[in-house]
Each structure stands twice: as C-alpha cells, then as structure tokens.
C-alpha cells in the first residue's frame, strides 16, 4: 500500500529533474545570516509600534511624557508629529500598498491594531518599556466587525460583477433537476503567520536608502517606498536574500515600510523595526472570512446539469479586495448550466490580501464539500461521481485545458490510500472507541506567469552566476534556478551560483501565484541560451572555454534577458521595473486561453473518538500533476507542506473575532492553532508524471499553492463518512460534533 508514496528524497519519475538538496541547505542548518533582520546595519536605533486597542473611533489625547522621560528613548512619533508621506493607492488600483489607510495620518481609528505611535529607543527593552508608559484616551464608536454586523454594507463592485461566470440556463435546469443539493458553507478569518516576523530596517546614506525587509517582491517594495516618500526609485535598494516563510503576507508593501524609512530620515540614524507577533495580525493582510451558497442539480445517473456558486467575502472600508474563486469552481466539472456571483461585505477591518491559494482555498472547499453531498445523495462513489463529470474543456467558454490529469491523480491516490476499503454508509467503520471515515476532494491551481528578467555572468573558470531578483520563500527557488541554468548550459550544477532577493539584480516576478519557477525559470533559460549563443551555440569546457574567452578578449561574459509570457508585450517588462504586476499573471491578471491548471486528488482518513469527539487524521494521501517537475525533492516538500496546511484549515485554524469590539481575540501562536508535529502522523505524496508543452517553454505549472486546496474538503467529507454529520463551517472542531450519537 505504501509502495507508491515518496520518501523525503524521491526517485524522479518521468519528466522530472534531479532531487538535488537545496542550494542553501548548509547555510540554513548552520544559522548563517540569510534573512532580512539578520542583516546588520551600523548602530541602529530600535523602533517599536504601539497599536490601537479599539477598532473604531478617534484619539482624544495621547500622553507620551512618562515614556519620553525614560533614559534611552530617542523620540516618540504620533499622528501629531509623524513624518509626512505621499498617499499611495492600493496595488489593485495602480498603487503599491496593501491597505490604503495611512498610519499616523490623523486621530481617527479605522480598525483594530492600527499604528497609533512609534517609539524609537536605543534598544528593544527600552522601547518596550516606554511603549507601556504611553497613555491614550479614545472616543470609541461601535465597529462593524464582519458578516451580519450592523452597518456592514454588502456591495458588488463592477470589477467583481464582471467576473461572474454564466452558461446556459441555470434556474431552469436547477428547477428541473431530479437530484438537488442546496447548501451553505463558511470559512473563517485566517492569518499567514510565517515564523519569520514582519520587519523593516532602513538606513540612509545621503540621498540613498537601503531597506532590509522580508519581501516576496523586492522591486515592488523599492518602487513603493520611493513613491510614498516622493523620491526617485533609483535611490532605493532593497535586500532580502531569503524569506522566512510568507504565504502571501509579504507580497505587497504595507504602510510600515515608508513609515520606518521616513523615521530613519528624520532621525538621521538607521532604524530597525520588528513587528510583534500580535501586531502582525493587523499590520499585514489576512485571509478574510467567506460564505458560500452552492446549488447543484444532477441526473440520477450522476451527470451535473446545474451549478451555482454564490460567494461573500469581507473587506475593509477603504479597499475592495476580493479573491472571487468562482473562476475555478465554475470551470472544474462538465455542466451545461452555470451561474455565479461574488459580493463584498465592507467592515471596519484592515484590508485583507492574498494567502496561499487565495481564491481556491475557500471556494474549492465549498464546491468539493457540495460535490461530496451530491455523491451521497446519488448513492454514488465520490471518485466515480467526479469521473462522470470530468471535462477536458471549460464548461463556460469551451476553451480546452492544455492538460488535465485529474482522474490519473484520483486513481493513483485511491490505490495507495486503499479507498476500496471505504464503506459508503456513514458510521459503518469502527475500531474500538474510534469512528473511522474516509473522504476525498479535488485540488487545483491555475498556472499563471509574469514577465521576468535575468542576468548571467560567465568567467573563464566555467563558473556561472545567475542574477535575478526573484524570491525564495522556502519553495526551493534558488535550487530550481540553479538546476534550470545547469541543464540549459550543460554544466554541473555546482558550477552555477544564484543571486536573488535583492534589487541590485534585474527584476523577477512576485513570489506569488505559484509563478516563480515558470516565470523566473523561463528568464533564466533564455539568458543561458543567449550566453550559449555568444559562444557558438554551446558552452565549451576546460581549456577550450579559456581559449574562447581569449578570442573574445575578455575575462567575463555577461548576458541579460527579458522574458514575457505569451500574449504579453514589452509593457509587461516596463511594469515589472516599476514593481507592478501589470499585464502579468497572478490572481488579478487576465487569464490566458486555453485553460492552464495543475491538478491533484487528496484522500483523508479521520478518526473521531466516540466519547470525547477528539478528531485525529492518521493518514493523508495526495497525488499531484504539475507538468515538468524541476526538483522532485523540493516539489514533494511543497506538496507535503500544502497538505498539512490543509489539515490545519480543516481542523485548527481560525482567527477569532470579538464581534462587539471588532478585535481579534487569539492573536498569538498559542491560541491561533496551526498544525504541530504531533498533529501530523502520515502523509503520502505521489507525483504523477505529466507533460504539458503548451504552458511555457519549460513545461512547468505552478505547484506551491496546489496541495492546500482540497484538503479541508477531503477531511470534512471524511468526518461525514465517520459520523453522518456535515460540518459546513470550518474548522471542524469537537464542539460541532457533540450531537453525534455515541
């Protein structure tokens, strides 16, 4: 049964590269200074944010006298003396910031945990002590916290209405369908909580500004800081060679960066700021809570005839951020009659943003849970139900999928998992005091691409340096670039060094949308190709290489390349240099035709204790097809991490909201539960070989956000199989199972 599952270092299957260890592995296990806040600045002062304790109202008085008097305190900034910054727009509106509310811009409080003061001191202990001594008097107003709160307005902006997908006549087909499902689902607020805290360090040298900050898009940060400070982007450099986890939270510039840079300018001293864990819950983005209504109609032999997906998402007053995952859910299965709609609910919250598979995680959860309900209503095996409705074309536009190995994934995973032992009847499998259930669900993630540029430098020794300001957030991007360059040049990977995460290098794509390998990799392939051409089409080795250099009369050959995805022009590269995703892929980009998706099938076993209702997941099995796999070792880790994320979403994760006060309750790692080692017994990962030559020259689909889609549905479906109870509101917790008969 275990034969197909992969060990930590898998044997590469067809169309997969070598499972090399990570490029930076040694540095990571020896504690080398790789991350933004590890990088040293000369004699920095420490800045600490003080954040608001109310969600809505205004500051009447802020008394900093006791804090100012503390030895070692350099200056305290409030809205009364804050350095001026230019107002910049939200990044979806052509600006740079993830939230357009400007901190210290005035006395008004528009959401919980907003910056109300910045203490700058000689060291952290002093800053923290001083922060305690600041007294604030507020005038409080009652906030609209979320769905259903008084004053929370439901809107449907034009941009969102345009995303609605329709086909045929949903209402008629649904009315006529012999078997129907009509169910509501919800997903909670979630926070990325990378282990590396958010931070900004800023140092000025005359006109020039250096910023060290964890970032998934250093060129965006460079341009964003410049725009907020009203300076030339040429004068800003951002360094962040490695990111300590991000999951979307370090993607777009927050208002913190220009604020810290402005303070460094004001004090004429390097400033180092680390955002405390609780502050990170409101000073960065998050995955907003969502609600869904799914209506499915089918014939008795299991053909879908009608599908409607309506979604609601929370956003802030100031920005209309949405994920609108109906794009995936309406195109997943063959169905002639489709309707969909997404609405936003405006609340007194900070602006949400993208978090690992932003649209697919909540929307596919709802669809895949509804698919399981329909399979049960049809008395049909859930895998067979999906097979009957599998499609190779979009049911909305008729455009073909470039490749779709969904059913291969189901078959491989089902065999490894032992799906044939599942009893269709709920509560039919027991072991001692444990109720056992099996469930499955589909995972999918669209293949997006963005323009990318890269430089390659070759020296007579045969060493190649690849420079590209792409980012490694733990995905293995350094290793992938090293392998792509080595393969293209026909050299040993050890001869290739890679430089990333620094605006000293040509811009790469945002580390988002699972685009890095396809986009940055294509630029690296292109630049290596140009290098080869300079040397007559192939890289000579040894003595011949030296002679080639002699002939060219140089000790260094440098090439630069710009790559744009099919259908995008030179503007895409210009946008990239401005730190914008313009013309590019990503969740907001125009979707290229035909449909390009990676797929997976996930299976879960749950055990629920008869008396305590404790929920355990002893086994997860996932099979995934993502086109060419550059490195099966790091790819497997992406899938593994993704499925464990999915497990957390199913059973543990939720940011709890005090609806009266509009404030987060569990803003720390002890109470915001993420999976720990003891939660994760056995995860089998199967990589299904797939060749797709249409997606891009490398044949690579994005996989970093694939595996956490579907897991929560697979687990919730397994909970139904174990108990007969549908839990439609994530996470599935013990208290929701109390009425299951013992």
């Amino acid at each position: 049964m275990m034969a197909e599952a992969t060990p930590p270092v898998p044997e590469p299957g067809e169309n997969m590269g070598k499972p090399l260890p990570r490029y930076e592995a040694r540095a990571k296990v020896t504690g080398e200074p790789l991350y933004a806040d590890d990088l040293q600045l000369p004699n920095p002062a420490i800045a600490l944010f003080v954040t608001s304790g109310i969600a809505r109202g205004r500051i009447l008085q802020i008394d900093t006298a006791a804090a100012d008097a503390l030895p070692g305190v350099l200056k305290i900034y409030t809205h009364l003396n804050a350095p001026r910054r230019e107002v910049t727009k939200h990044y979806t509106e052509g600006g740079y910031v993830s939230d357009s509310a400007v901190p210290l811009g005035g006395p008004d409080i528009v959401n919980d945990g907003q910056i109300v003061a910045v203490v700058v001191a000689e060291d952290f202990a002093t800053a923290r002590d001083a922060a305690h001594r600041i007294a604030i008097r507020y005038e409080e107003r009652s906030p609209s916290a979320t769905f259903g709160s008084a004053g929370a307005a439901t809107i449907q902006p034009d941009a969102l209405a345009a995303k609605s997908k329709k086909a045929g006549d949903f209402a008629g087909a649904y009315a006529a369908a012999p078997v129907k499902i009509d169910a509501e689902y919800s997903t909670p607020t979630m926070h990325h909580n990378p282990i590396e805290l958010f931070s900004t360090a800023a140092a000025w040298n005359g006109e020039r500004l250096t910023v060290h900050e964890p970032s998934q898009f250093v060129w965006q940060l460079k341009n964003g800081v410049a725009s907020a400070l009203g300076i030339d982007p040429e004068n800003v450099e951002v360094r962040d060679p490695f990111v300590g986890g991000a999951f979307g939270s370090k993607g777009m510039m927050t208002q913190r960066s220009p604020l810290i840079a402005a303070i460094a300018r004001d004090l004429r001293r390097p400033i180092r700021n680390v955002v405390l864990r609780d502050q990170g819950f409101t000073l960065a983005t998050y995955r907003a809570e969502t609600r869904h209504r799914l209506q499915l109609g089918a014939t008795r032999d299991g053909k879908l005839t009608a599908l409607s997906h309506e979604g609601w998402e929370v956003t802030s007053r100031q920005d209309d951020y949405s994920v609108a995952g109906i794009e995936a859910t309406t195109e997943m299965y063959a169905c002639p009659n489709i309707a969909s709609k997404v609405s936003l609910v405006k609340a007194d919250r900070n602006t949400p943003g993208f978090m690992r598979s932003p649209p697919e995680t909540p929307y596919m959860y709802a669809l895949e849970a509804a698919m399981d309900e329909m399979a049960a209503a049809l008395a049909m095996d859930p895998v067979e139900f999906r097979r009957i409705n599998d499609t190779k074309v979009s049911p909305v536009t008729g455009a073909p999928y470039t490749s779709r190995s969904l059913m291969e994934c189901y078959d491989r995973a089902a065999a490894t998992f032992g799906w044939n032992r599942r009893k269709a009847e709920p509560m039919a499998t027991r072991e001692g005091d444990w109720l056992i259930g099996y469930g499955c669900a589909t995972a999918c993630y669209p293949t997006s691409m963005m323009a990318a540029t890269a430089r390659a430098i070759l020296t007579p020794s045969g060493r190649v340096e690849i420079q590209i300001a792409a980012h490694d957030v733990g995905t293995g991007a350094y290793t992938a670039m090293q392998q792509i360059a080595a393969r293209e040049l026909g050299v040993d990977p050890r001869m290739v060094s890679v430089r990333m995460g620094d605006t000293a290098y040509p811009p790469g794509p945002v580390a988002g949308g699972s685009m890095t390998t396809a986009s940055a990799g294509s630029a690296v392939k292109l630049v290596c190709d140009k290098l080869k051409q300079r040397l007559g089409g192939a890289l000579p080795s040894g003595r011949e290489l030296e002679q080639a250099f002699d002939r060219l009369g140089t000790r260094r050959i440098e090439e630069y390349a710009e790559w744009t995805p099919p259908g995008q022009g030179k503007e895409a590269v210009q946008a990239l240099y401005k730190g914008q995703m313009g013309g590019g892929g990503g969740a907001e980009g125009g979707k290229p035709k035909p449909l390009m998706y990676a797929f997976g099938a996930e299976f879960a076993e749950v055990r629920i204790h008869r008396l305590t209702r404790e929920i355990r997941v002893p086994r997860l099995t996932g099979a995934f097809a993502g086109g060419h796999i550059v490195n099966p070792r790091t790819a497997r880790s992406q899938y593994l991490g993704g499925m464990i994320w999915g497990l957390g979403q199913a059973l543990l994760e939720q940011t709890e909201l005090d609806e009266l006060r509009g404030r987060y309750i569990n803003d720390n790692l002890a109470e915001y539960l993420v999976a720990v080692n003891a939660d994760v017994p056995e995860v089998d990962i199967i990589m299904v070989p797939e060749v797709d030559s249409q997606v891009n020259p490398l044949g690579v689909k994005g996989i970093g956000e694939l595996a956490n889609v579907g897991t929560a549905a697979a687990i919730a479906n397994a909970v139904y199989n174990a108990t007969g109870k549908r839990i439609r509101d994530l996470p599935v917790t013990m208290d929701k199972l109390l009425d299951v008969p013992a």
Partner: protein, 198 residues
C-alpha cells in the same frame, strides 16, 4: 504592544517595582502611564554577567530587561537564533543552556552567570556538520529555514533526553517547535537518521 482603552488604575503603578519578568508579561495589559515619580522606581538597571557562549567566555554589562534572544540578535551578533513570537510559543529561539534546551526569548541575560550557552552557530565542529544538521539536509527537513535553528537545537536535545525512541515520541517532543512551512514528517525522518549518531 497594544494600547487599550485607559483604565483608572495604572497596572505598572499597581505592581510597583515588580520583577522584570512580570512587567514583560504585562505587554498587552490595559496600561496607563505611571505617575512621574514611578519612573525612577522603574528605571533601568544593568548587571555584569560572565558566561560561556559557543565555547568562548563572554562578559557583558547587560540591561536587566535584556533577553538572551535580543542579545544574540543584537549586540552579540549571532542572528542564527530566531525570533518567531518572543512569547515562548514557537520554539524558533531554542538554544542549549548547560546542555538542555531553553527558549532564549524567555531567558534573561542577567541570569546567565556561570552558565554555558550553545546556539546553532556553535553546533558544528569547524567544517564538520553535527549529525543532526546533516540529517536535516538529507531529509529536506525545512523549507524557508526560519524555524530550523530552533528545530535542530530541539532535535539534538530531544535525542539526548531519550525522547526519540519512536515516531510518536519524536512528534510529541518536537511539538514545541512550530514549522509553518510544515516540514514535520521530514523533521521526524531527520531525527531518526541522526539519533544513533549523537
């Protein structure tokens, strides 16, 4: 540091010149400024401390509020030890003190007199990696690597404590170290590879 609505009593005044650890725990308390007279009472103190760090003797005049974690990431310039929460909740700051695992964010430098501290930077012997470091590489037991120094320090201690006999035991005794990238099964594989070699 969150500022809540003001309360009539000052918590700081209430606890007076209380121990440093207590005032640190009050970070999210409903705080209001202490009266001016209390400021002196709470004024910083410094202490001379001598301890061993990665085999070298160090002497420091430290603010009594200074944690080992902030000292390592600041004046001692050993940023391999990571800050993931500063609240003893994530394990990223795990170091060895006198051979057993401790959270550097919960350790005050002022209390280190005569003690022996080892951080991730002191684990390898010159160029030769510790077997646990090698096992983490061999099993791809990390992704972003930010939790990794803490995981490795915990894993070494876990084996030495005799808590690495079964997979279940490893999972349990490694659960104080959060890996948000979720490399957990690979971490277990790494501990199993290294446990016989420590």
């Amino acid at each position: 540091m969150t500022q809540n609505t003001s309360l009539p009593i000052s918590r700081r005044g209430f606890i007076g010149g209380g121990a440093v650890a207590i005032s640190a725990a009050g970070l999210n308390a409903r705080a209001e400024a202490a009266p001016a007279s209390a400021v002196d009472q709470n004024a910083p103190h410094r202490a001379n401390v001598r301890f061993t760090l990665n085999g070298r003797s160090r002497e420091l005049t430290a603010d009594t509020r200074l944690t080992l974690l902030d000292a390592l990431r600041g004046p001692l310039a050993l940023p391999g030890t990571k800050k993931g929460c500063d609240h003893g909740q994530c394990g990223a700051c795990t170091v060895h003190i006198d051979g057993s695992r401790h959270l550097a964010c919960f350790t005050l430098v002022a209390g280190l007199e005569g003690r022996e501290v080892t951080t991730i930077e002191g684990l390898a012997e010159g160029d030769k990696l510790h077997p646990m470091q090698q096992a983490f590489i061999d099993n791809d037991a990390f992704q972003c690597g930010y939790c990794t120094p803490g995981q490795i320090m915990s894993a070494v201690a876990c084996v030495k404590e005799g808590h690495a006999r079964t997979d279940t035991e490893i999972r349990e005794y490694m659960s104080g170290n959060i890996c948000r990238c979720s490399a957990y099964p690979n971490i277990v594989a790494a501990v199993k590879q290294a446990r016989g070699k420590i």
